[in-house]
């Protein structure tokens, strides 16, 4: 643009005078929103502890073949053997190494947790954006479907669906993913309803941006924070869901190991009272995984939503 205006003319005087120190600091301090959230998150002790534990669980799941002392499905001579140097956590009633099964069980929990949430977050975001942005009949239809989904007894529907299409790792991930979206959709819709009234969205329309661009580049990034928090807690509940299904025999099919189906053995009173190595470790793992994720979620929520920045 070939125009010559005196640039100094329009620079506010205040910048030059009383704010010069602040300005100098700001110039060096180009902290993005993301950095600010990360900084606040890492100030949250429980959240950091949760992150460490959860990272360890993910590492265990990823490196299962390396870490695991034995093949999880190999049957050894001793049944229900107490912990020893060859079998750190003993063996189960079929004679398989509990430690190895525990390690492989992490794979199941992590993949169901993350997989299911990934599926329903995508569905929820798309439906929520459409409902919130376009409003009118689109909103009406999507929100009524959401209501219908939310009025189902969630666990029973999953149980029925899984028993119809057959229990397997993929199927339970898919079913949980397919049924989990209403909460996200509502959350997104709510945020969109307020964000779409913001002038920067109107400016986007006035600048001639396409609707998908406005939805995904201008509205969604500003609605992401609560979704992220919700999704984090969602991973925890998906892990519990998988464990419950597997406990009931509707989840991961034996002989594949899952923390849930390992707990099934605790149904017997003898196991419960005299063979704690069969049920304490898987129970503890579920507890640790869920707790660490919930701490991460808490930390994220505080980092994102608290207005009093440090």
């Amino acid at each position: 643009m070939a125009m010559k205006l005196n640039p100094n003319k329009n620079v506010p005087e205040v910048d030059g005078l009383k704010n010069s120190a602040i300005i100098r600091k700001q110039l060096n301090d180009e902290e993005s929103y993301f950095h600010m959230v990360m900084r606040r998150f890492f100030n949250h002790k429980l959240a950091v502890a949760g992150l460490i534990v959860f990272t360890l669980i993910i590492l265990v799941a990823a490196l299962a073949p390396v870490i695991s002392p034995h093949d999880p499905n190999k049957i050894f001579g001793e049944f229900e053997a107490a912990p020893s140097s060859t079998h750190l956590l003993g063996t189960d009633p079929v004679g398989r190494d509990v430690m190895s099964r525990l390690v492989y069980g992490a794979q199941v929990s992590i993949s169901v947790g993350i997989g299911a949430v990934a599926i329903y977050v995508v569905i929820g975001i798309v439906l929520g954006l459409i409902a919130g942005y376009f409003g009118k009949w689109a909103d009406m239809i999507i929100m009524r479907i959401t209501d219908v989904f939310m009025s189902f007894p969630y666990f029973m529907v999953i149980l029925v669906l899984v028993s119809i299409i057959g229990p397997s790792l993929f199927n339970i991930t898919f079913v949980i993913g397919l049924l989990g979206w209403p909460a996200i959709a509502r959350l997104v819709r709510g945020s969109v309803l307020s964000i779409k009234e913001m002038d920067y969205v109107k400016a986007g329309v006035a600048l001639g941006y396409s609707t998908p661009k406005i939805l995904f580049q201008h509205i969604l990034p500003n609605a992401l924070a609560p979704i992220l928090v919700n999704a984090t807690f969602g991973v925890a509940s998906a892990i519990i869901m998988e464990a419950s299904l597997s406990f009931l025999g509707m989840g991961v099919r034996p002989p594949a190991a899952s923390w849930g189906n390992m707990l099934t053995q605790a149904e017997s009173i003898t196991v419960l009272s005299s063979q704690p190595w069969l049920w304490i470790p898987p129970g503890l793992m579920i507890l640790l995984a869920v707790l660490s994720i919930n701490f991460i979620g808490d930390g994220l929520r505080d980092a994102i939503e608290s207005q009093n920045a440090k």
Partner: protein, 331 residues
């Protein structure tokens, strides 16, 4: 700038109406309408600044937003260079948007908080494929210089700027597409007085350099007087008076304009003893506007005919919608 009849108007507003339905009950039955804009017409000529003034809720912002089709009018037309904005295709409209821009009132909500200033300014060019990434970057540097911000600020986020700086970024963004017409929707109302002058001067300078046409919306007359060539006074969705700035300030014909002028403080204390017409009461609800002249409930000169008949906007260069324009009353 004198208005000559021979020139082609850049933008024509013809009988623009925007009614919002009032819905009640569980089946959302429409029980009435809020007449935000009710039969507004005016022309805007290239290079001029049209001021749009009135109290809050008089429909000036709705009118402004209709001009760039952020609102679809209930009735009436907005013609930009002869093209009816309501009739053209989405695609054509997107193209036309490069000529029509808007600057918002609130500099805090008009910039996407998640985008760096550089990206925010380059985006319009990239979205319309008017420049490559590198060119766009160059143009961002130029525009930042024009609005008086150092180009190092490109990597900063909106929350790191003051209100005045943000408003200048908003102006820069509106300029990126080199529009012909810019709707300034109360661009200085949210700013400190010292910053207001800067932004107004910037707008004025830009107009000269880039041959821009402005529709300048404001609720006070101060800024409008400074920047406008012509002024439209609105009240309850209707145009009360339309004339050049000089005429409006020196010979207001509508009692409402006179009242607005009186509400504007006089800097010189020796002139403060001038006779004042003071307005009483509040603006009536636009959902239930008064019969006849909409201003009669608050007009000190209202007579019987004002309560019955709607006055038409009449006059050649100085249009006024009043049964008893001021000069005839006073003489």
């Amino acid at each position: 700038m004198p208005v000559t009849e021979q020139r082609q108007p850049l933008l024509q507003v013809k009988n623009l109406k925007k009614y919002y339905p009032i819905r009640k009950g569980i089946i959302s039955r429409t029980v009435g309408y809020v007449k935000a804009v009710d039969d507004v017409s005016f022309d805007i000529y290239p290079g001029e600044t049209m001021g749009l003034v009135g109290e809050s809720g008089c429909g000036k912002s709705t009118t402004g937003r209709s001009l760039v089709r952020l609102e679809d009018p209930t009735e009436g037309q907005v013609l930009f260079q002869g093209k009816n904005l309501a009739n053209i295709s989405q695609r054509e409209m997107r193209k036309l948007r490069t000529d029509l821009q808007i600057i918002f009132q609130d500099p805090y909500s008009s910039l996407n908080p998640r985008k760096r200033i550089g990206d925010l300014l380059a985006e319009p060019l990239l979205a319309h494929k008017l420049a490559t990434k590198k060119d766009a970057d160059q143009k961002v540097n130029e525009i930042l210089e024009i609005v008086g911000l150092p180009k190092q600020y490109k990597n900063r986020y909106p929350h790191q700027f003051s209100g005045g700086q943000r408003q200048r970024i908003g102006i820069a963004r509106a300029l990126m597409l080199r529009p012909k017409l810019i709707i300034c929707d109360e661009p200085v109302s949210a700013l400190d007085v010292s910053i207001q002058a800067q932004v107004l001067n910037l707008l004025k300078d830009l107009q000269k350099e880039l041959n821009l046409t402005y529709v300048f919306i404001a609720h006070g007359l101060g800024a409008v007087k400074y920047i406008s060539d012509r002024i439209t006074v609105m009240y309850l969705g209707k145009v009360m008076e339309l004339a050049t700035t000089k005429e409006i300030f020196e010979h207001p014909k509508h009692p409402y304009t006179e009242i607005l002028l009186n509400a504007y403080p006089i800097p010189n204390p020796h002139q403060r003893d001038r006779e004042q017409i003071v307005v009483e009461g509040d603006v009536p609800s636009p959902a239930n506007p008064p019969k006849g002249c909409v201003f009669h409930t608050r007009c000190p000169f209202a007579k019987d005919v004002c309560r019955e008949k709607v006055p038409q906007l009449t006059g050649k260069d100085h249009l006024v919608a009043c049964h008893f324009p001021l000069e005839t009353v006073n003489v």
